[in-house]
């Protein structure tokens, strides 16, 4: 995952908010990313390549294009660095 802010100061200042920060910065974005990357980009590309509907290059090009859109959307939503 991209580098993010440390949550340790929050733990010291406000232990209750620590859990919220962990969820917001790490678990929710991670879950969203992979819950979308796998079904929307990776699995379709694998299926089409093994079904010989696309060449491996066509399937991977599509997967990367689709996956990068998801990565960018997630990064913008959570303030991660974007290329």
């Amino acid at each position: 995952m991209p580098p993010r802010k440390s949550v340790l100061p929050i733990l010291e200042e406000d232990p209750d908010r620590y859990i919220e920060s962990i969820l917001a910065q790490h678990l929710k974005p991670f879950s969203r990313l992979y819950s979308e990357l796998v079904p929307k980009a990776i699995t379709p590309a694998w299926d089409e390549a093994f079904a010989l509907e696309k060449t491996p290059k066509e399937a991977l090009d599509w997967m990367v294009e689709t996956g990068n859109k998801i990565l960018k959307e997630t990064a913008e939503q959570y303030g991660w660095p974007v290329d």
Partner: protein, 166 residues
């Protein structure tokens, strides 16, 4: 992903802000995987959508020759009383191209490989260089080419297709 890493491909760039799997290395690995099923008939049909529980069951039933896994299963399989006494398998590193790092991801560190008694030969075969003839060599080793074990391992899942890899 362990296969892709073994070909020198990467899923992301350094900071994981972009996917990179369509690199020449990634395309080469995907072609190799697709060829294993469609060209060489070495993978049981349905590779892309096969779930882990199904793969594990097929391996335990000796219907597929390999199962990507971790060393834990070395012990777990030996404690399975319902497995046939003839069920023999080994644990080995994932395949990789010469000069590339061996790929490992999550809890998938290597391959459980059935029906192979010559571990030295297997270790050599796993270090394939090019897909075509090394795939055949890999398949020969994994399936025990020349022995009666080969057709018994995968035949039920190949719909009568020839298992000859020679």
């Amino acid at each position: 992903m362990q296969f892709f890493y073994g070909f020198g491909a990467e899923l992301y760039n350094k900071y994981q802000t972009k996917m990179l799997l369509n690199s020449p290395e990634g395309v080469e690995c995907m072609q190799w995987l697709v060829d294993l099923e469609h060209k060489h008939g070495w993978l049981a049909p349905g590779t892309a959508g096969r779930t882990n529980d199904v793969a594990l069951r097929l391996f335990q039933e000796q219907k597929v020759a390999t199962y990507p896994s971790q060393p834990y299963y070395v012990t777990a399989f030996k404690l399975q009383p319902e497995l046939k006494p003839s069920f023999e398998w080994y644990y080995c590193q994932p395949p990789h191209k010469e000069g590339k790092e061996i790929g490992a991801e999550g809890n998938i560190h290597g391959l459980c490989v059935a029906k192979q008694k010559d571990k030295d030969k297997l270790a050599i075969a796993m270090k394939f260089r090019r897909a075509s003839h090394h795939t055949r060599e890999l398949g020969d080793c994994l399936l025990g080419a020349g022995s009666s074990a080969a057709p018994q391992v995968c035949a039920p899942y190949l719909g009568g297709r020839s298992r000859s890899l020679h």
